[in-house]
Subunit: 189 residues, 2 copies
DNA sequence: CGATGATACTCAAGAAAGTGACTAATCATA
DNA sequence: TATGATTAGTCACTTTCTTGAGTATCATCG
């Protein structure tokens, strides 16, 4: 019962189709909640059935028709109530960290390659987030935007995503460097 | 098929009981993989059935008997193979971020309280990780340990956990400060 | 003109994860 | 001498997530 709230939060402020929502969950929202398109369509159906969102059909000439969803008052109330409940600690799942945990017992070369790949991926995300942040704040400085901007929720979560990916990149690079150095040392033994 | 590898990785180097493993998943391993005790017991049973770990009964006088598990050669091979496959991008799930995403539409007071609580929690984790890191490296400096230490996998993942929680703490504090300032501004309107 | 890719979804099956309740012994403490 | 905490697990049930395939239209590129 939590994807539910992530979807509601993503739908606040803008009407989206399932397809657009899936895109959003692929870039921005993915920082704090990950979901596949199929889950989103299913969740949208449930939310509509429960009256927390309403959908309207939009007929399109050049593309398949779509349904745009927006949060109802009941949906807002649900989110409000959700916010009032205690937050569970965040749960992370990362294959790569599992592999690094076993670093002393597995093939170092593979691990280094995967750390490098992840660092590159993180760098891409960093650049994306920096662009997103800039788009959101427009001409204002960050400080000014955070004080006086209208919609700062997505900005704040994006800031967390940025810091997270910077942490990822730095850690991947450092870990890869450490493993490389140890490899070199061992060869030189 | 992923908790499987997290359990194997946690069991490398040390023989643990299900109960001890659950503790490990509550502190260190939780940084990159979260699981409840019930899941771990179930996974241990599966791993043993598949011959990736072996358990031995340890009779105890003062406490209930326990079963200690260790990774078999087949288990090591499985981990090795797992490392060779491409890592999926990490998946995060965080209630609190969902709430912040909706920050402009929900009760700010609650949110600030939860951010403060999370910052405190993160601070506790930071201190725990710093202690763990110190224990692992003993008298060596970090640099020396990473170059010449025997078992650096858990150290590296702990470093990531530390950075993650520092990021959490900083972001929570900043977000809470921003929301407080806006609250004050609005009152002053 | 055919291939590829984007838009916009749907369905079904199976694997994984989460929830809640429960047993049973010992130890500390008030 | 009850009370609760800690150690050490088990069972059953439900929800959620992932995987894989499939439908249909239009736009673009070579």
């Amino acid at each position: 019962m939590a994807l539910r709230h992530a979807v509601l939060a993503a739908l606040l402020g803008e009407e989206l189709s399932g397809y657009q929502l899936a895109k959003a969950f692929d870039v921005g929202v993915a920082n704090f909640w990950h979901a596949l398109p199929q889950q989103l369509y299913a969740e949208l159906a449930r939310l509509e059935k429960d009256g927390l969102i309403t959908g309207r059909e939009v007929v399109q000439d050049t593309r398949p028709n779509k349904r745009l969803f927006q949060v109802t008052d009941a949906g807002s109330a649900e989110l409000e109530q959700f916010t009032a409940t205690a937050a569970k600690p965040s749960s992370i799942r990362d294959d790569l960290l599992v592999k690094v945990q076993a670093a002393d017992h597995v093939d170092t070369g593979q691990l280094i390659a995967q750390l490098a790949e992840r660092a590159t991926f993180a760098q891409g995300k960093i650049e994306l987030f920096e662009r997103l942040l800039h788009t959101m704040r427009g001409d204002s400085t960050e400080e000014h935007f955070l004080r006086h901007g209208e919609r700062i929720g997505p900005y704040l979560t994006c800031l967390r995503g940025l810091a997270f990916e910077q942490g990822n990149r730095d850690w991947c690079e450092r870990s890869a460097a450490v493993l490389r150095e140890r490899q070199a040392t061992r060869v030189g033994d």
